[in-house]
Amino acid sequence: MANIPNLGYLDGINLDTSLFTAEEIDNAELVVQQFMADYAPSLNLTKGTTLYDLLIRPRALHAAMRKELDDAREATQSLQGVIDNPALADDATVDAILSNKGIKRRFGSLASGTVKIVVSRDTAYVISADMQFTANNKVFNPTGNYRALTSPVAIEDLQLYATDATNTQFYFLVPVVAVENGVASQITDLTGFTITPSVPNLIVASAFGNFVGGAEDETNEEFIAREPEAMAAKNMVSRVAIAGALKDQFSFVRDVSVQGMNDLAMSRNSANLLSFKLGGYADIYLRTTQSVLTTVLNKTAVRQQINPDQSATYSIQIDTDDVPGFYFVSAINQAGTTNAVSSFIISSEIKDIDPQDDVQTHLLPTLQDGVYSSYQKATAIFEMEYDETKGTPEDQFLATLSMDVSIAYQPGIREVQDFVSDPNRGVVLADYLVKAGIPCFVSMTSIRVTAIEGTSGEEIRKKVYEYINSIPFGGTVRVDEIVSIIKAFSGVQSVDLPIRLTGDIFAPDGTTRTIRSQSILEIPSVPEILVTPYTTLFFAELSDIPIAMVDA
């Protein structure tokens, strides 16, 4: 006599019914039941019979799954289908569809920065390129193989410093780069790192300054949104054609704004006796990076004078080819110190222009016309304080010094300028000038967010950061949009108002214009200094978006 086992549903063996609603299963069962009834009319296929459970139910689920797969395949055969069903479209499908139009997806970039490693002994340390530095679940590798020594010998050796005169702690700085693309790898200053394998005598490892440069891969939605520009004729004459040509040619070009003959911020075409606006000129403003980058150059500082208070004034020349289109000098340090902040007071930065290159001479009637273009150069003036312990001022302040100069910039300005100036490609009657978008740096008062425990303030900060740094030319920073972004997190219950926004516009005339708002931060229209919503971009750093999380 056999024992009858439980005839119940066995998890993991049957088809997954959770994929479908009860109505969908009902409809599928009706279809299969009718088919089987027509096929074998002598079978009792009504609900409750064994044949119903053995034949109709499983076949109905199978039919429903096949239908769903067929619908998905059909939906992704067209761009409209992908847009209507974004959940069905995987990256490979969208890539394949848009490859028919000659468009390629843009990939993100890796964040990079410096890690300060504090150790307890003055000895030699080896950092290999395959070591893993981890912070906020993001992994970084050193940019090369290094040795940290008290007295560096080779060019790739790092300086081992004593933290103070007691010689109980020492530190060295390691440049690292993220393993994966993305803005989440933009680690903020002082964030702790773990190192695998560990460094001997390690006390602590932390970020030395904010990491920069990380950007996400282009999403399907962003990729599809680029399609109209990409399909435009690449004749560099109309706005959409110029934007399409540049975005097609350069994957780092994120946004383009063209100031043409009669646009407000086009002033260099009226530098004639009667101030008539002439055709044949266009200023092309670009966004080539999500956030402003910083690069460090080694430059020679020339002593200008020793001042009456025994301090010294030095100057550093930033040439047109050093960092084309740069924004400003952010720090000046002794060579090899790699400090995130300036060791010396930068008393002034005098910009100048050199309108000629190997290919083309541009009309730049005034200095501000050339600022943030690749024809800009500058002289940075800084002060060095006298240190009595280092001898006389003449001993301390040498005629020339080797300095590390940190410069804020957007990359690619020279490359794009060379592209539009190419005589084989450019419009023969036109003088096109490429510039980095005028920067407006956004900061805000602390945003107080009430949320259930476990809601990530860092994720919220990252989303707000992405929003501000994605605003196109002509856009505004809206407080209601920031609130919506924060409220979209499932654990967030409330966001306190007001949120006070501040924007500092670094205008081409050398002035800083400050704008403020508790609702909509808008770029004003001041065409006499070339500042308009269509020449100016919003930038924000993660450190300028303070989030205060309060447990609900």
Binding site: M1, N6, L7, Y9, S18, A22, D26, L43, T46, T49
Partner: protein, 152 residues
Amino acid sequence: MSTSTDYTGRQVDISIFPDMVAPGQLVDATFSENPKAIAGAMMVAQNFARILLTQYGHYKNDPTMGSFFFEKLTTRNMQFPSDLELSFLLEKERVLRYMNSLLTDEVPDDERIRSATLLSANVSGSNVDLTIQIETVAGITMSFLLPVQWSI
């Protein structure tokens, strides 16, 4: 008398208990490698047994199918014989309600269940032998032995 002769022209179900060959005959309910077609009271008896032993709510699209009879068949729940009888009493009503909810006007009287009775239950180690009798609206009775294994 074979089922095919009695129920010619009827819509048939598949028999998973092939030894249920005739109404009124005490049969063993066992699985067979050579299933046959059934109709009438035998089909009703088979469906009753099958639904009784199906765990209630396992079918997403048919959440009222099944009963709690089998999962209650544990030594913790069944300390006295009356516990088993009470459980059967409750769960068979659930099964009857479900089976009757599926009936249409076309279903003949000998395929409409009227009642189900637990005639006996013999416990032998981990096995419980249930003797169940069903009666159709047409007055046909069908008894069968349903051996199940219960949880210790």
